[in-house]
Amino acid sequence: MSQQDTDYKTFEYDSYTELEQQLLNDFQHEFPLSSQPFFDIARKLGVEPELVIETFENLKSSGAISRVGPVFKPNSIGSSILAALKVPHDQLKETAQMVNSYPEINHNYEREHQFNLWFVVTAENEQKLDFVLDDIEKKSECPLLRLPLLDAYHIDLGFNLK
């Protein structure tokens, strides 16, 4: 994993082939739990299984797909928290890289606000979260917001690209 994740390309959905669009959009929920899932997808779409595997690999390496796998219900297995730092602009990159160096960090964005660095920490339990956040607060020497989840009304249920 690179320390910085800013060098990415963007392609309009319409510029993808029909097969790519189908793979991106149609299997966000009903991904087959079968011995040969890519074969089953190929049969459903009427294409060669090798082509499905190859196309998924390309979509993954180009970054269009983050993964094929589970989205967990928040705080059902581990514990997670949203946090934000108010970082002086000339220290932002350095601080973002320090935050990224923790394996417990999964999302880390600059946002337009006084609190300008926003990240999600996920760990096995709350004590571990506090430990990581205490450490980040100390190292950054910046004001920190700790914003634990109280209610998830709507979580990542996929994204209709059509």
Binding site: L33, F38, F56, K73, L145, A152, H154
Partner: protein
């Protein structure tokens, strides 16, 4: 009559085999002919048991969905705004229910305030192909519900430093880092 199963509160604990399985799949399946068999080999389980355990994690509500996870930015949705709202506690549920009914709202959460620095308690996310598109969608929501009296702030994302799956369970490779 159809039985309605509420899986919103998973209660039965996961065992150590589930934990190992979660550690293996949290960053995604391998893209190969028999991905579940490959994971089964690593965990010394049968392919069937891997598939069966993933199905059960879904049924029990630990996994909310299982499938392709796309990255919005790479698909042309370059702008994402996190909109944070200060909503009276006794209204937050009603407002959130309305908010999440919009198809363009991808996430909607209530989080703790941190007073005095942070007064906001409700969050929603809107993705769009341009800033104008995001602002138009937001204004449409504000106008049609007459939500202009609420305090809110719009935080557009600028740079992405990291976006990947959460590590709920750290595996050996990560700990050696």
């Amino acid at each position: 009559m159809k039985l309605v199963v509420d899986n919103s509160e998973p209660e039965i604990a996961i065992d150590s085999i589930d934990q190992n399985l979660i550690a293996s799949i949290q960053n995604g399946l391998p893209i190969c002919k028999r991905p579940y068999a490959k994971i089964a080999d690593q965990l010394e389980l049968s392919e069937n048991e891997v598939i069966d355990r993933i199905s059960k994690l879904l049924d029990r509500g630990f996994i909310k969905r299982f499938g392709v996870v796309v990255r919005h930015h790479e698909l042309g949705y370059k702008e994402n705004a996190m909109i944070v709202w200060d909503i009276p506690d006794d209204q937050v549920q009603i407002i959130a229910n309305k908010m999440k009914s919009y198809s363009f709202v991808t996430l909607c959460y209530r989080r703790a305030r941190q007073l005095p620095e942070w007064r906001y308690n409700l969050y929603c996310m809107i993705h769009g192909k341009s800033r104008d598109e995001v602002m138009n969608l937001l204004n449409e929501m504000l106008d049609s519900n007459n939500w202009h009296s609420f305090e809110y702030d719009i935080l557009f994302s600028k740079q992405r430093f990291k976006q990947r799956a959460a590590n709920y369970i750290l595996n050996q490779g990560m700990l050696e880092k």
